[in-house]
């Protein structure tokens, strides 16, 4: 701590130190990205602040448990957001399962479950949330990465492992969604 200036280190240098078990480096990396990832998760996961924090915790726990997942040559920022977007995908899958399960309960006449109550509590009258939820999952992720987190097109392409042109094309097609939403 006394001899290492963590503030001057790049994300990649910090990550290598984290792999060696340096908890000061981990703390610095956390300080750089936790709030940004929390904002991303918040918008991706139905504006649920508690769920967003849980996801931030889980993401950094993964880094602690398996720091070797970061390969030399990787760039930390897209790597972190790639993990985050994969976690969101799993979150959506889980949520759709929960919704299906709820429907089934209603059909069979079983009393309102805790899950339903939770879903009800999470409904927030937030204009951005409604607008974002109308977007497809991948486009929502791209939109937030580009305009909330200011990631470059190259970084987004790296996250989705697709060419830059495809990213631009998908982002451009958001206008179609806007046109549709205005018509509605």
């Amino acid at each position: 701590m006394l001899f290492k200036n963590y503030k001057k280190k790049t994300d990649e240098q910090l990550m290598i130190l984290v792999q060696k078990g340096d908890h000061h480096a981990f703390s610095s990396l956390y300080n750089r990205y936790a709030d940004r990832l929390n904002a991303f998760f918040f918008r991706m996961l139905w504006s649920d602040s508690r769920m967003a924090e849980d996801y931030v915790h889980d993401l950094f726990s993964k880094i602690i448990e398996r720091p070797q997942l970061f390969k030399p040559g990787n760039v930390v920022k897209p790597w972190l957001f790639q993990i985050a977007s994969n976690m969101c995908k799993n979150g959506y899958r889980k949520r759709s399962f929960e919704v299906e399960y709820l429907k089934q309960l209603q059909v069979t006449g079983i009393a309102e479950s805790v899950i339903e109550q939770k879903l009800d509590n999470e409904i927030i009258t937030d204009q951005i949330r409604f607008s974002l939820e109308k977007l497809e999952e991948d486009r929502r992720t791209m939109f937030l990465l580009r305009y909330q987190q200011d990631l470059t097109i190259e970084e987004i392409a790296e996250i989705f492992e697709i060419p830059k042109g495809t990213v631009k094309s998908r982002l451009f097609h958001i206008k179609k969604f806007v046109e549709r939403s205005i018509k509605n």
Binding site: A39, Q127, K168
Partner: protein, 181 residues
């Protein structure tokens, strides 16, 4: 074509409001998005970009750092703080004691102690002198310079050998004394 359009739209959306657009830009935006579409998208982008960060509770960081330290602590610390039930510790100690007791070979302890025993040696010499023997006593004194040099550790005198030789046994000495020559 689409990519160029995206780059242009991206730049305009990030930097300008509809009122700031030039006539040429307005015409293009109206064609691509329409005024309402542009304003809607512009609003969404500006709202979202304001919330780039969202504070996480400090408890999350504390918990994660604890997890990190727990995972990366040294082997010694892990061993020292490894929690085992007391009965397991007692049993381990008991078995260890039995093992040591059984496996260690029993050794006889021999203590060597040097003891000095003084044995008196008495020797008798019978000298028979002839009657005509005359003793002439003469004192000879010669001063001989002695130079002592030491090149190696002095050898210890073999006391056993010295003690075993008595005057009675030394034939040469006896002859000298008897003959007087």
């Amino acid at each position: 074509m689409e990519n160029k359009d995206f780059d242009r739209l991206d730049t305009i959306l990030r930097t300008k409001t509809y009122a700031d657009l030039t006539n040429e830009e307005k015409a293009w935006i109206d064609e691509v998005l329409g005024k309402n579409g542009f304003e809607e998208l512009s609003l969404m982008i500006s709202s979202v970009s304001k919330e780039k960060k969202r504070t996480v509770r400090p408890a999350v960081k504390t918990e994660l750092l604890r997890e990190m330290k727990r995972k990366n602590r040294g082997v010694l610390a892990t061993w020292l703080s490894y929690k085992t039930p007391m009965y397991a510790n007692v049993l381990t100690l008991f078995f260890l004691m039995i093992l040591v007791w059984t496996l260690l070979p029993s050794k006889e302890v021999i203590i060597e102690k040097p003891v000095t025993i003084q044995v008196p040696v008495i020797d008798t010499i019978t000298v028979q002198l002839p009657s005509d023997t005359v003793f002439v006593e003469r004192q000879v004194r010669v001063e001989v310079p002695v130079y002592l040099t030491r090149t190696e550790q002095p050898k210890e005198v073999d006391e056993k050998e010295v003690k075993s030789r008595t005057l009675g046994e030394d034939e040469a000495l006896r002859e000298l004394l008897v003959s007087g020559r």
